[in-house]
Amino acid sequence: MVSLCSFISYYWEEEKRMNYFPDEVLEHVFDFVTSSRDRNALSQVCKSWYRIESSSRQKVFIGNCYAISPERVIERFPALKSIALKGKPHFADFNLVPHEWGGFVYPWIEAFARNRVGLEELRLKRMVVSDDSLELLSRSFANFKSLVLVSCEGFTTDGLAAIAANCRCLRELDLQENEVEDHRGHWLSCFHDSHTSLVSLNFACLKGDINLGVLERLVARSPNLRSLRLNRAVPFDTLQKILMQSPNLVDLGVGSYVHDPDSETYDKLVTAIEKCKSVRSLSGFLDVAPHCLPAFHSICPNLTSLNLSYAPGIQGGELTKLIRHCRKLQRLWILDCIGDKGLEVVASTCKDLQELRVFPSDPYIGHAAVTEEGLVAISSGCPKLHSILYFCQQMTNAALITVAKNCPNFIRFRLCILDPTKPDAVTQQPLDEGFGAIVHSCRGLRRLSLTGLLTDQVFLYIGMYAEQLEMLSIAFAGDSDKGMQYVLNGCKRLRKLEIRDSPFGNGALLMDVGKYEAMRSLWMSSCEVTLGGCKTLAKKMPRLNVEIMNENEQTDFIFDDAQKVDKMYLYRTLAGQRKDAPDFVWTL
């Protein structure tokens, strides 16, 4: 798309000639361009394209809610209908960001409401969403259709009740991995009897009970329902009744799956499942009696997506039996109890596999049940693999080199060895060469996470070869400032850099301060940067917010420039210093 724009702008050299096309025509052409990136590119061609594109864009993506004010977004995109916002930095997922840091959605909803934006879709990730926000949202936008909350917090089922009751056009309510305070089941009853437009409902992350009769009736009056993910409180026989009502489901998340295989209900379930010929995505099994899994074997051959990462009860023979039926799988999320042997089964069965995530089943023990062997097996059996997240016990350079050769198409490569500074398990060498092979071979790599014993050398390789890299996560790696400098110098497309517990200091931080305006954000925690270094940076770059987080309550901290900074988060912004920062966050 970018090349198309350059072609057009080259061909029509003068702006006057651009106006040969009336605005409406250009607008119509732009309608076919949907991705944010492409539309951003369009808007940079010339002033009139900027004007037309901005006035017609309906779907906006804001990667950092503090990078711009809601008023400014509304001003630029008056036709706004759908917005995606991200709040906290990624490392907040791992409890590295203090609880009250920020990321509140309320000001956005309030601004949209005040300016009468015709909001229809809202997608939030890592934001704080209060019940008041949900209440305001539900009352302010008559055509509101879709709410997707990913890794958010701050709300209770009361907020969900408001959404259910007031959003009469709601088609989608998708709650993914949120921390929700559950005030027990009544929210589902708030959907009106006349509410028949539901297409997607995901409440798997809710911990509390659900009124099962209400759920069954809701499903029965939702003929367009295609995606349904249940929570643990929904038992097996309700599942059976629901499936009988919704044979057209495409995406199913099973709640509780514990029952007696000899019962009549089980036979009914088998019949119901056989009728669900459209199911392509299966997840859940939050409680499971694994010997009853064969009921699902009839839909396995159609599955393209399978997520068993919350089902530690499915192991060994039952797991591999299930997987052997899933020949069309493209996406698999699994726990490491599958083992290297189980991954070999995946490799020989799932030839279309594109994305694999292997999570540790017991993160507290510090031991994973897969090693480099599983990864190598997958790479040799699944040539279409482009995204991987792999938690493992150990890794070797030889394995990574083999993986790089087998799968040159990686876009995302995230490796996590549970012992973060573990060397090559066979040679005891650093894993520099292995990761070097990955970046050298995978020219399209956009996201990379590294672990293991790593020196500055690996960063030299990354700077040299990872030309498309946009996001890099570093933990316990490198020897000196040079490591970080190689990355900042070499990775021209870098947007997000997050570093913890690595010996990078002011020398690296201040090497190329202009670079940070071309990036979304930089996170550094437990590194060697000092307060003085951060202050220097903040002074040179007024359009960056340089936030320091210090929870130690040392009031004299702010005067000691030589003091190392515990956590620093900097990001480019047009909104200036934010006004909602808590006491322990200083913006320099």
Partner: protein, 202 residues
């Protein structure tokens, strides 16, 4: 935090220590190496700290021993490690606690070839294979030999086996402990030629 010597109790007078009477020794000094003398008695740095090089002292990397699947859980947990979403961590933790609370023990029968009667043991009592094998050895008065993945148990005419959920007889020790606990239905200590057959490399 320095230990405050309280004058009231006069602990110094009754304290046992090395050195001639009348000298005072501050325990803190021992942790700072002097500029002239090299301290020979440095504690052995664990593998991680050595390889970490110039790490900041904010990170205490967990002291994990080398790849023994039966190694004890790490004592020092690093904040935010492993990098898993809290939501996921909490779910798995909750499930684990539930399983532990609900479980009244996993009792399995143990038979030994040639023994007149069977025994029963609770697998939950043991936290890894060495503990289980030692208990079996004590119970039946035998020795189990050296385990290796390639050859099974070498150096003994006995081989510990178990029946798994699929009904197959498996050699004890091949799969991770948790997986074994979940799939073991009964144990059988095989003896003699049958045992050797099982433990021979194919």
């Amino acid at each position: 935090m320095a230990f405050q010597r309280d004058g009231d109790l006069n602990l110094e007078a009754t304290e046992l220590r090395l050195g001639p009477p009348g000298t005072t020794e501050e325990p803190e000094k021992q942790t700072h190496p002097t500029t002239t003398a090299k301290c020979n008695k440095r504690s052995l740095p664990d593998m991680n700290e050595e390889s970490a090089g110039s790490r900041t002292n904010n990170s205490n990397v967990s002291n994990e021993k080398k790849h023994d699947r039966t190694s004890p859980p790490t004592k020092a947990q690093v904040v935010g490690w492993p990098p898993i979403r809290s939501y996921r961590k909490n779910c798995l933790q909750a499930k684990k606690m539930e399983a532990e609370a609900a479980g009244s023990g996993i009792y399995v029968k143990v038979s030994m070839d040639g023994a007149p009667y069977l025994r029963k043991i609770d697998l939950k009592v043991y936290k890894d294979y060495p503990e289980l094998l030692k208990a079996l050895e004590d119970m039946f008065k035998f020795k189990v030999g050296e385990y290796s993945e390639r050859e099974g148990y070498n150096g003994s005419e006995f081989a510990p086996t178990y029946e798994d959920k699929d009904g197959d007889w498996m050699l004890v020790g091949d799969v991770p402990w948790d997986m074994f606990m979940n799939s073991c239905k009964r144990l059988r200590i095989m003896k003699g030629s049958e045992a050797r057959g099982l433990s021979c490399a194919v």
